[in-house]
Symmetry: C2
Subunit: 314 residues, 2 copies
């Protein structure tokens, strides 16, 4: 099957790309940068420019589109004006997909579309929608427009709501990566109270779930998550154990954010029963792998640093 993936070189997207390529599909990945990726063809184009879309569709002629690209700069994306750029780009993308005869389109949404004040597991059909940030409002609104358009034009439309992620290549300031980096480098990991409950998945499992979803016949909104409620405090302790019982976790060293939801957890019944997806590894196993990956990164950085020092001193 011919599949076009936007954001297919990103944190989540690379694993969806890898899974679909490994399954023997003709995978095309858009990127603004000239780069190569194993098992797929990279189409260099800018999705924020109208002509970029035609370049991508003309080359890929996809049956299925997996649209993961968005502005996700850590610490900035919640309220950034770039959410408007990507809203407009996504609308244009779905319009182009219809024009190019795409049969099925899967777009990335977010758990932040839900009303999180209730606290229970978020269900696609029964939990109210109440996005608060510009990011979440944009995602929710785009879902409404393109969902209606897809329904009218007979295109299968899927809205994959992602929850919390960790794994290789995570931005170093995010929760898991910052804890791991602190522990491995011997600094105490400064944390909030850690009382919040979140739904964490390894990004490799998320990528594989998205690949399975792209190949399935499931439509509509669907949670892509682990479905396991994890208290941040317990999760951090797991990380410390997986890292070899090293370092120190300082809970309460950072203030809790006001109005932060107490719990954000997914009901994954649809993902499990309709898509038939279950991750092969446990969260604990994935944490170990992630820590190994970070150890490799830190070793590499140390080597680069030492070589630079050696070269200078020589």
């Amino acid at each position: 099957m011919r599949i076009l993936i936007t954001g297919g070189t990103g944190f989540v997207g690379r694993w969806a790309t890898a899974a679909l390529a490994a399954a023997g599909h003709d995978v095309y990945v858009t990127s603004r940068n000239f780069l190569s990726m194993q098992g797929c063809e990279v189409i260099v184009c800018d999705l924020l420019r109208p002509e970029g879309l035609d370049v991508a569709f003309a080359r890929a002629r996809p049956e299925v589109v997996l649209h993961l690209a968005w502005y996700v700069e850590h610490g900035k994306f919640w309220d950034a004006v770039e959410n408007l750029d990507w809203s407009a780009a996504t609308i244009r993308l779905v319009s182009a997909a219809e024009k190019w005869g795409v049969r099925r389109i899967v777009c990335a949404g977010t758990c932040m579309e839900y009303d999180l004040s209730e606290g229970g597991a978020c269900n696609e059909a029964t939990t109210a929608i109440r996005p608060l940030s510009l990011y979440a409002v944009s995602k929710d609104s785009i879902r409404r427009i393109v969902g209606k358009f897809a329904a009218d034009s007979g295109m299968e439309f899927v809205w994959a709501r992602l929850f919390f992620l960790f794994g290789p290549n995570e931005h170093p300031n995010r929760l898991v990566s910052s804890i791991v980096a602190s522990l491995l480098s011997g600094r105490p990991a400064k944390m909030t109270s850690g009382s919040q409950i979140r739904d964490f998945s390894d990004v490799r499992d998320t990528g594989e779930a998205l690949a399975a979803l792209a190949l399935s016949k499931v439509t509509g909104a669907i949670n892509i998550a682990s479905g396991q409620p994890l208290r941040i405090r317990d999760f951090a302790e797991e990380i410390r154990v997986a890292a070899g019982n090293v370092g120190e976790l300082r809970f309460g060293a950072l203030p809790d954010r006001p109005n932060e939801p107490a719990a954000i957890v997914a009901d994954v019944t649809r993902l499990r029963d309709e898509v038939g997806f279950r991750p092969i590894r446990t969260i604990r196993e994935r944490l170990s792998e992630t820590i190994e990956w970070w150890q490799g990164e830190l070793d590499l950085q140390l080597k680069v640093h030492m070589r630079a020092t050696y070269a200078v001193s020589k």
Copy 2:
């Protein structure tokens, strides 16, 4: 005050343009066509192209934007893919407005955003939102995104929900114009049962209300309408009387549309009390003026036709 109007040459927009120009403001109107309009400067640009926006803002440098442009082709706009183009264009427009330092932006919404199954007068704060067509879903979704963005960035944001309109230059296939044209040309006016209740305004009053709204400090969603429930059947009879008691109305000659809302009427408390707008003329007076306008048009068409016939026969 410097005011940029999109759609300012259109059915509604021309009257808003005229009202603001007459009040002495520096009015700039975007248009894809080279044309001139009294009292304002026409900026030739295509809002569907990103560079078109910069052309408009660089020239107008507006404090206030009145965004009325959209795809409104009669009989087609409800489900047209162009709704996606204008959704994307509107998102980009609001983003550009913020970048160019616009203080206040007024966008056109629609009564079709409301849940019309309840039947009461639609109130901005209390009536549920339940858009059904792609047009209405697009408008509603765009309101969510750009409303949130404007709130975050401190730009005054107004969402003017328009109801039913009639007046000069109306598309000849629409309700009032088709009745008038039939009656004036001696053909029976074929109608549905006429039992539906609608809120009709003259487009000149709507334009003036939008102008008053643009100059006011009112923000958020606001109904722009007459607030007068008119049964289509009674309204058609009014038209027949205003046309000089000529012609015949054939109620029931056309089938009622299934699932059509029984009543679509606005609560105009905000428009009346907060904007302070009241139309100077009654609906009946405006109907007479509209019919006069149509008579002039038909006379003109007849003259053109006769001249053409004369020229051919000569």
